[in-house]
Symmetry: C2
């Protein structure tokens, strides 16, 4: 029985900054220190050599999100690459809690990156829609949670996933059978004290919250999908996600060896910042804090001009003199996520940082980039039919999933 | 929103005697005081007038277990009878945790009684085999729990249930769909503090235990069985069980109105005593504390002669003089469960209580009664094929379930 002491300790300590699936807060309201988070959680930094190795193994340039440190941390990703190099495949698992009708850009990031991984490595993918979680956390009815799951599935499909390699499922539809058996096996291995330590639950929380972590854990195990991975119980799982989901998978990795399963590997992203803020996650409750995939070109322009926090100086004279503070500038931050052209991004950072380019010009360029991206998404989503959703969500084998 | 204050309070108070699904202990190791338990739990006594009403409504003599106070307490059984008298049917729900291969006589009691209720009222029945619970509580594998569930199903079927009115299910097979949705709805309504108060869980218990109560709760709701009760969401449920299961259904009844469901009614039994003890439940861990359905005639004779606690006096002279103490005498207690002839039982109690009959004679009669009963069960069980188990456990409609 393997004991991963480092993970164990990390999960129990209370620390200056709080990052879990329900709360992201830095010390004294400042920035999240991602380096410290790596130490705190006990994960590993995704360094240049690993990125170079991905490029070599996939024979293509690494995704912008890798090159620019959006996905910055990992657990055992190197092991997955070792195995891949030796001819062993893996599968991808990611998910979404369907709590709102419209997705914002922050929601798209793991899916855009997962699509890249699926294409680059030619591997199957399972996408969990945790409608049960959202029904329990938010005050949503079962029916409304299920409706949102299907609506969100359309946005996910619009990201361009390959239906011959992708299984999307809603918990309310899919929990049962082998999946439920794995839930029970996981639940047996986690004490209440441990769950309260990892997730910060209290006695006033309902037992549905306590029951949920195994539901998010078990898609990490191929035996939860007998229609996809029959006889492939040791197939490794790689999970792309934002780092606030790490507690779920710390727990999963702790439990996996005791069940005779492989630990899932992780590749983890920073948070996508709100328009106003230097840090933290975008908030679905304040519509002006985020750009939504349903926003019009006019909405996007207004939001960026009115709300995007600028690192430019108060007066043009001062700006020309000392330049913008790129560290806190949201338009530059957003461009670093979504402007693919490395040379243009470097040019903007240099010109803006040295005061030759003004905030208005940077915001104009960001407006163009996001308008085009959102328009492309809207068109792709409009083409997603109910039949396509049914096809992705059908419980079926994926015969050529590794090709 | 209905609030049942009496139940609420009962579930929170700690009391002198502890009775829950995992622990039955009286104050100072004495007897369970069933009258106090009724007050403590907030249920109602099953009195003579209610038994007379059952006889009138079913046009048959009440079952021995009713006439002799084995089933002694209830919740809203009168309401179920009111509705039945007005032409409204109900369904029965009982269950078993399959932790051991062989059942003992105490295990058979709820099933013998449920069979009587099914026949007398002509109503459908669902039987839950909580293989998930036993997998979590005992250290059983999923496969072993499922195997035991099927073995136990054979003993249950041998009690004579009608396959056209009875659905037997294992949680590992059946959890999912509408059943899982109800589990989530229930879990949302129960705080951790509340669950710890009702069930006595501690921080060292695993979260599987905390997740289980909704699994036992939801067969109380007809919508958990869409193949059986489509469009019958308000059909009432009557649960025959031993009173140690009351905490589960106190919780269920507390939650039901908030979900728009009817509260299940209950009809609850005392515990069947161990051979040695004046009180408590039989223990599956000490084979000499109970008569098993697999015991031979010789086993039964030996166990009764060697272990059945006698209320007879130490010497024949003293016995002839003051008679047996029937209150503590296990052979008489057992006969009051299983000797159907009221006149013979009264005769034995009178003769034995007044010293004219000796312990050996009473034990001999008990040996005959139990040997015949166990032999009848063994033959019935030997006739239960795997195909019959499959038939009872098939997810199917029961077209004539109320006839």
């Amino acid at each position: 029985m393997e004991v991963d002491k480092k993970e164990e300790i990390a999960s129990e300590t209370s620390s200056e900054q709080v990052v879990n699936p329900w709360e992201v807060s830095a010390k004294d309201g400042g920035r999240i220190d991602y380096d410290k988070l790596i130490d705190q959680f006990g994960c590993q930094r995704l360094d240049e050599s690993l990125i170079a190795r991905v490029e070599r193994l996939t024979s293509r340039k690494a995704h912008v999100f890798l090159r620019r440190g959006v996905f910055f941390a990992h657990r055992d990703f190197n092991e997955v690459l070792d195995a891949y190099e030796g001819g062993d495949k893996f599968y991808l698992y990611t998910g979404r809690g369907p709590s709102s009708e419209a997705l914002h850009l922050g929601h798209l990031i793991p899916f855009m990156f997962t699509k890249y991984l699926q294409e680059a490595f030619k591997v199957p993918l399972v996408i969990q829609l945790t409608d049960d979680e959202k029904c329990m956390w938010k005050n949503l009815s079962v029916e409304e949670s299920q409706r949102l799951a299907r609506e969100n599935a359309k946005d996910i499909i619009a990201c361009g996933f390959d239906v011959t390699k992708t299984f999307i499922f809603s918990d309310f539809d899919y929990v049962g059978g082998a999946f439920y058996k794995n839930m029970v096996k996981v639940a047996k291995c986690v004490t209440l004290n441990k769950a309260m330590g990892i997730f910060g639950f209290s006695g006033e929380d309902h037992i549905g919250k306590l029951s949920f972590p195994p539901v998010q854990a078990v898609p990490s195990f191929p035996s939860s999908f007998p229609h996809l991975f029959p006889g492939m119980d040791m197939l490794r799982c790689l999970i792309p996600c934002a780092i606030d989901q790490d507690p779920y998978f710390r727990m999963t990795r702790d439990v996996a060896p005791r069940l005779g399963y492989s630990k899932p590997a992780l590749i983890e992203s920073t948070f996508f910042p709100a328009l106003q803020a230097k840090n933290g996650k975008m908030s679905a409750s304040d519509p002006n804090s985020a750009i939504y995939v349903t926003d019009t070109a006019k909405d996007i322009k207004n939001k960026i001009n009115r709300y995007a926090f600028s690192g430019g100086q108060d007066s043009i004279e001062k700006h020309r003199e000392i330049g913008a503070n790129l560290e806190v500038d949201i338009p530059v931050k957003y461009l670093s996520f979504f402007l693919e052209d490395d040379a243009e991004l470097e040019h903007i950072k240099k010109e803006y940082g040295e005061g030759r380019m003004l905030t208005g010009e940077v915001k104009k360029r960001l407006t163009e980039v996001l308008t085009e991206m959102v328009e492309r998404h809207r068109m792709a989503r409009a083409a997603v039919t109910d039949q396509m959703v049914d096809a992705f969500m059908a419980v079926r084998p994926l015969p050529n999933m590794f090709e």
